[in-house]
């Protein structure tokens, strides 16, 4: 996949209103859409994404329906589509079949936060065979050795976690983002995108000033959608887009 930079990736939970929200996000200037496939026990997620995931599960969302949704989105929007889920649903579906069906539906890559590169062997192979990029996550606590190994198998972009922590809106940017960008940059040609806690255009601007290539916004995008619907989301994405391009 090719991510346009400065990148603005919006995370949305797969649910009944996802098409409408994704189209609004793209109109607002999102350069890629991350689609959450819900899991009952999402260890890397804070209260907002947990709530959205529980709601989607109650509404009957499954991996199979999420694949149909991705297919529908692919016909409507042109930016990269990147599903994000956990090892449990992937393993239940079957790694090879999951990747094949994702590729057929038109997805571009995959993010699985509880499959670090050490455990990614089979999934990484299945991604390669099906032309999907596997996006690794790196954190302020990642050692240089781990950064090097994760970047070796990476595709699409490298996802830098802004804090030691779980997803969720935060008031300010951690001072650990700059050093992390600096440590990862020599190991890869791929864009470096920062996520977890990016809740405003102001914070997104600060991320760009550390030398990163873009941001991923999840919890805040969900909160804005919950409160203000698709129009609110479009407005919010446009604000952030302006902040990161100026």
């Amino acid at each position: 996949m090719r991510i346009e930079t400065p990148a603005l990736v919006i995370y949305l939970m797969a649910d009944h209103d996802t098409v409408e929200l994704a189209e609004a996000a793209v109109r607002g200037g999102a350069t890629a859409i991350e689609i959450g496939i819900p899991f009952s026990d999402p260890l890397a997620d804070g209260p907002t994404v947990q709530r959205a995931g529980q709601r989607a599960l109650r509404n009957g969302m499954t991996a199979t329906r999420a694949l149909e949704l991705i297919g529908k989105l692919r016909r409507r929007i042109a930016v990269p589509l990147i599903p994000m889920t956990y090892a449990g649903p992937v393993m239940a579906y079957g790694e090879e079949r999951f990747c094949a069906d994702l590729a057929a539906a038109g997805a571009d890559g995959m993010i699985v936060p509880d499959v670090p590169h050490d455990e990614a062997g089979d999934l990484l192979e299945a991604c390669r065979r099906n032309g999907l990029d596997m996006v690794p996550l790196l954190a302020p606590t990642s050692t240089d050795e781990r950064i090097e190994l994760a970047c070796r198998g990476a595709g699409g972009f490298v996802y830098l976690v802004s804090v030691a922590g779980i997803t969720g809106s935060r008031q300010r940017l951690s001072d650990r983002v700059g050093p992390l960008v600096g440590r990862v940059r020599p190991h890869t040609e791929l864009p470096l995108l920062v996520g977890f806690g990016i809740a405003s255009g102001g914070i997104a601007r600060e991320v760009m000033d550390t030398g990163a290539d873009g941001v991923v916004i999840g919890s805040k995008a969900i909160e804005v959608s919950e409160a203000e619907g698709a129009e609110g989301l479009e407005r919010f994405v446009a604000e952030v887009g302006t902040a990161i391009t100026k």
């Binding site: 199979t64 239940a92 670090p116």
Partner: protein, 390 residues
């Protein structure tokens, strides 16, 4: 078999480290500290001293003669982990991990608890070693194991209620792991079961194997031979792996795990009814639907009310070295009362599952060792409440 797990923390295909990147470095650190400590005589000296003078080890192997008429005349021995300080096997692991946390220089401890036994053990060692203790506990478990909540608070621990999901052990573990991810640099996650990401399953197994090592020596001294059958209850599986592990190379000793079969409203018998998936950092059997979503469980016993199981048990099941069978709430209660009335011992409801299965499977002339993993004081209110409703 004793060389398991491999360098990647795999027991066959089970185990591994399915956790967010943020804590991978901490797991490497923990593994290194653990390997250094475990090969250091000074660490064992400290651990053995505390096992003796603080935990009260060795725990007795008690022949339950008045129970034997219910066991086809087999000779039934109870490994009395209920007599440990704090009343359960959980303290064996908690003392060891507190000593490890000291070596890691981590003063803040997070733990999860179901029945409250691991929470109490964690609060206890934190008081003893001057560590700051935070215990996550599901709301439903706080209600049904209230005495243990009071104990934890008296010992200086913060008990954090978890309302997500069914408000039981699984949800408490999710929150403990999220706390650990957030505070990983100054916090040790004191996991209570032989589950979770590598190296926890092997580390907890080794710390709990004192149960099986003692039991093996004790039964040899009493009977002049190894037992025919060794039985333990399995939730996450720490007392069972601790009791089983020293007998694994003894091919003639049958290993039997009692899972929580629950009632018509649900089950927690993960190995009997689950599928292979990932929960809480390792690949193992999980009670999950066909889409991989983890199911709500039910058991009368809070300590067994968990949809996952340690990866080594998954491997022991698949290789056939151990067998696992469900025991219902009603059957566990029957064994609970039997032990109270015949032997004057109030067992934990968890342990009562193992007892029931042992009585069922024992054959005439056999020698049977049953893990009595904890005492039942914590359960008396819940048992009374349930039976007054019936």
């Amino acid at each position: 078999m004793s060389t398991m797990p491999d360098a990647r923390g795999r027991f066959g295909d089970f185990g591994g480290r399915f956790v967010p990147e943020t804590v991978m470095g901490a797991l490497d650190e923990l593994l290194a500290a653990w390997e250094t400590a475990w090969s250091d005589p000074a660490f064992h000296e400290r651990l053995d001293l505390r096992a003796r003078d603080y935990v009260g080890r060795p725990s007795p192997l008690y022949r339950a003669e008045r129970l034997e008429e219910y066991a086809s005349g087999a000779r039934i021995y109870l490994k009395r982990e209920d007599l440990n300080h704090t009343g359960a096997h959980k303290i064996n692991n908690a003392v060891g991990q507190a000593l490890l946390a000291e070596r890691l220089g981590k003063r803040r401890i997070v733990a999860e608890t179901g029945a409250g036994q691991h929470g109490v053990a964690s609060a206890t060692v934190c008081a003893r070693f001057g560590l700051d203790c935070h215990v996550y506990m599901g709301e439903e478990d706080i209600r049904r194991q209230h005495p243990n909540v009071v104990r934890m608070r008296m010992l200086g621990a913060e008990v954090i209620p978890v309302t997500a999901g069914s408000g039981t052990l699984k949800d408490a573990m999710n929150e403990a792991i999220r706390d650990w991810i957030t505070n990983v640099e100054d916090t040790h996650y004191l996991i209570g079961s032989a589950a979770g990401p590598h190296p926890y399953p092997v580390l907890v197994r080794e710390l709990q194997s004192v149960i099986g090592r003692e039991a093996r020596e004790q039964v040899l001294a009493a009977e002049g031979r190894l037992p025919d059958l060794v039985v333990a209850c399995v939730g996450g599986g720490s007392n069972a792996i601790g009791l089983f592990h020293p007998f694994i190379e003894d091919a003639d000793v049958r290993l039997l795990g009692a899972e929580a079969g629950g009632d018509e409203s649900g089950t927690a018998a993960t190995l009997s009814e689950g599928r292979v998936s990932v929960l809480h950092g390792s690949k193992s059997y999980v009670l999950a639907d066909e889409g991989g979503q983890v199911l709500e469980t039910h058991s009368i016993s809070a300590g067994l009310d968990y949809p996952g199981v340690g990866p080594e048990h998954a491997w022991l099941k698949d290789t056939g070295r151990a067998e696992y069978a469900p025991v219902t709430d009603a059957q566990a209660l029957e064994a609970f009362h039997l032990l109270c009335m015949r032997e004057g011992i109030i067992p934990a409801l968890e342990s009562a599952h193992a007892l029931w299965l042992a009585l069922q499977r024992a054959q005439p002339g056999q020698v049977v060792v049953v893990g009595l993993s904890g005492r039942g004081d914590k359960d008396v209110d819940a048992v009374e409440e349930r039976e007054s409703r019936a």
